[in-house]
Subunit: 383 residues, 2 copies
């Protein structure tokens, strides 16, 4: 049910002809209210796509009535003409649905550095508007796929309200494809400022902790819409936990769908002096090509874990570091621990546990191994 | 001639039995003076190998009489016993040659997290001492090789003196192999403080700008020895330029010997507000797996260049960025430039030029593409 699990939302997904293969490539999500509260988190990349520039500005008032998303083109690095395309898309949606253009969020995903085929896209908006339905969430989730092998949706039920969402993105992404988009909806009654706070908190520990290949996109966007249609005002802590659970589910689906990957790796740092330290140390390991190729080769190479942790500013003493891989403590106090021969790296799931012995904070980064298939997917296909 | 091109130096390289395949694995470089001035630069990794801990401390007085280097084992993450091994190695060299152990630098390279075979290593020191010769530089360069396909040496002639050196390290490195070691010698008369200043400056723009896979080693070491045997005190600016030329030659040899690579890539950032900005932006591109796989696939994917530059704190405006690849300006003012079809990526050498339009500073980072062979070398071989 995806983005239409919550009351007050309609959605659709259609083939507008943006993708050359004729697959669905345009999705529309509409919030029928009564509330039109919204929050969003965008890429922190300083080179941002035209739709991000549009949406970031348009959502500053905390209101969004609709989201239009296209796959088949990122509309990034397209200059002023690209921005006019994003603007024209918002105007078209607004005109078709009787909204203000500034209440329309625009998201694009696909190759960077190419203009969108605007005639097809604008005609597609009419078609998508005609197919809007309260059961359209699944069709919308399909229309935003690029190299994804499956649509990615999740629903969490609250006390009298629903939180649902969809996302796209493959851990190992294809040439020039901007990484991830997500739309989350709820029929809970939550004001925009609170929505923003909850969303930033949830994204921080979910999407922002999925680091498949360390490459930050120009288009990443997570939008949260609240219709208030349930009439229920949720307990803030409860709602935040549910939103985090939903975002984590979507983020894990991205990692699990990394087509080039043969292992899903959870890198958990414990006993860090701060959560930032824990995240920095875990991310350094997640970005080590040497560590990631070792896991692909089923080699529990803990020396590469330490070499990566050693590049960070996290608080630790090198002679106190402990590392376990899939439950075997291969490194103890910065030196040789139990035999690496005891580690079983056949399963797809890999757990790396790093103890900094410097405090009480924890963070987990999810990543994949670096495989021949990753190199293949990102080099062979023309773009 | 490598480290014995300058007067006052003897060297040797022998097979001590540290490597299981019987290849040369122990090198000795001795400075016979009259000066015994020395400077060194070590890895900035906070997890450092035992020999780095020893050598870093031993060289603080600006004197080194000998350097002993072994391949076949990094002696990293080996705890207190590993440090005792490094210390014992220095003592053995000192006893054999009649030196103080604190004037012996120790370097190791190979797998992290394994103890060295000390009986073989200590017996090897006797053998290496017996073979020391003024022509031994080439043998020493062979003995420090790990996955290197060729020994790496360079000589620059100054006005009445010589600067020579050797290094090891392959751009795409094999499992657990600590990355690079280098020994540079000169018979010029230069005091230790000046040597240190010159070496730091030269390393900054040579070895530290070779970034094959973004993975910082626990063992990286560059040692500079000055015998003063020529009796010539060089012009400081001239000497610094010669030393930089030598270090750059050695660093380029490391990149060129990246066995897994099919392209050598020079990423040059121009018109940056500071040299730090230029280096940060170039390094971000050099570390983008998406960019590196694109070059492997002969795809001039400039969107991935901009996406990488966008993650940095360098001063620039996104709509002013220009990017040229092998002479074709594929990105102009942050948008679409000349056709990417004009770019020829068949040659091994690739030039990426990024103009930040924010100042007058420049930096070049040398890197390689990300290939199937990189994944193969770093995953398939057991370690």
């Amino acid at each position: 049910m995806s983005v239409t699990a919550a009351q007050g939302f309609r959605a659709s997904g259609i083939a507008a002809g943006i993708k050359s293969n004729g697959n669905p490539d345009l999705a529309l999500v509409v919030n029928d209210g009564p509330d039109h509260h919204a929050a969003a988190v965008f890429t922190s990349n300083r080179v941002v796509a035209a739709p991000v520039i549009w949406s970031r500005q348009a959502i500053t008032d905390g209101r969004a009535d609709a989201v239009v998303l296209n796959s088949g083109g990122a509309n990034a690095c397209t200059g002023a003409p690209g921005f006019q395309d994003a603007h024209a898309t918002a105007e078209k949606v607004a005109g078709t649905l009787g909204l203000s253009a500034l209440d329309v969020q625009v998201c694009s995903t696909g190759l960077i550095g190419e203009r969108l085929p605007m005639p097809e896209l604008l005609a597609g908006v009419d078609k998508a508007a005609g197919e809007l339905s309260e059961d359209g969430g699944d069709a919308a989730a399909v229309a935003i796929m690029t190299t994804d092998s499956v649509p990615k949706t999740a629903v969490v039920s609250g006390a009298g309200y629903q939180v649902g969402g969809m996302t796209k993105g493959a851990g190992m992404i294809a040439p020039g494809m901007a990484t991830m988009l997500a739309v989350v909806t709820t029929d809970a009654v939550v004001d925009p400022a609170t929505l923003t706070e909850h969303l930033q908190d949830a994204v921080r520990v979910s999407f922002n902790r999925a680091d498949s290949d360390g490459c930050m996109s120009t288009n990443d966007t997570v939008i949260l819409l609240a219709s208030g249609a349930s009439g229920v005002t949720p307990d803030p802590a409860q709602f935040r936990a549910e939103l985090t659970e939903l975002c984590s589910s979507l983020a894990r689906q991205i990692i699990a769908d990394a087509e080039g990957a043969s292992h899903d790796i959870a890198i958990t740092v414990v006993n860090a002096a701060s959560e930032t330290d824990a995240e920095e140390a875990a991310r350094a390991v997640a970005r080590s090509n040497l560590f990631k190729t070792a896991i692909f080769g089923r080699d529990p190479n803990w020396g590469r874990v330490l070499a990566a942790v050693g590049t960070t500013d996290a608080e630790f003493e090198a002679d106190q570091l402990d590392v376990s891989i899939n439950g075997v403590q291969v490194c103890r106090a910065g030196g040789i621990g139990d035999s690496r021969d005891l580690v079983d790296l056949e399963p797809r799931e890999v757990q790396v546990l790093i103890d900094l012995h410097a405090g009480e904070q924890t963070a987990t980064i999810w990543t994949n191994d670096l495989t021949h298939e990753y190199v293949h997917e990102n080099s062979v296909y023309s773009s």
